[in-house]
Amino acid sequence: MRTWFPYPLLSIALLLMWLLLSQSVTPGSIVLGLVVSTVLAWVTLNLQPARSRLHRWSRIAGFILRVVGDVIRSNVAVTLIILNAGRRPVHAGFMTVSLDLDDENALALLACVLTATPGTAWLEYDRRQKILLFHVLDIENEDLWRKTITRYAADLKEIFE
């Protein structure tokens, strides 16, 4: 099974993407999509991406909901900061947080989440000391940001490790 489908999740995602792009679920496009997704999974094998296992599927929905809520809130907050930038000085600053994450895919996901949240920008991750350096637009809520990111890291650790 592993020889034929080295990355089952990737193959399923590719098949789904193929069906979405061709906008049809006829048997023909499904067969073509299966062939393409299987072949592309073999190609990916040569890139040797880090393999990770998802452990707690039940946690994923809650994590996504929290991320969506935070992204919306942060969008509004940053919009207000930009609109008020002329009148009120912007208190931006650097922050460091120590993360307890080893899984590469979990780190990549965390980077996507932090980037999608307009209030935070991922700058540097020190792999040996596990310290993440990032920049926030309103340093006044430093504790809140720290709490949010530690929470994300804990969730991702539960899902991935």
């Binding site: 979405l20 992204v71 969008n75 609109l83 912007v90 980037t115 999608a116 307009p118």
Partner: protein
């Protein structure tokens, strides 16, 4: 696109609203590039456009064509997905390059590179 007039009023209003808010969000994101004080703060501005703006505009597109063709249209989700997944790459690249330059020039207020713990290296 003359058949756009076939859109029922409720859908037209919703699509218009989503598009206007999305466009305004993207505009504010670009405005941020102009108004924010330094490079690191400016890093935040385009992410408003890529998260808020893209999602709202894609939602408007999904709704519009789903109602017009009276079937589910989902391939805009791929745009949202790929924009969300690829933005961090550019952003990190820019951030790291600036961080490298500022550390090299020893600019004030930029955090130093963390010292390796004793015993390592």
């Amino acid at each position: 696109m003359s058949h756009l007039t076939d859109l029922p009023p409720w859908a037209a209003l919703l699509v218009c609203g989503l598009m206007l808010i999305g466009a305004a969000t993207t505009l504010i994101g670009s405005l941020g590039l102009l108004r924010l004080p330094d490079f690191y703060a400016r890093l935040h501005a385009p992410t408003i456009a890529t998260s808020g703006g893209t999602i709202l505009l894609c939602l408007a597109s999904i709704l519009c064509f789903a109602v017009l063709q009276s079937r589910w249209v989902f391939h805009e989700v791929l745009i949202i997905f790929f924009v969300t997944v690829t933005t961090p790459v550019t952003l990190m690249l820019l951030g790291q390059a600036t961080l490298y330059r500022d550390r090299f020039e020893e600019r004030q207020g930029v955090p130093r590179k963390p010292k390796p713990a004793p015993g390592e290296e």
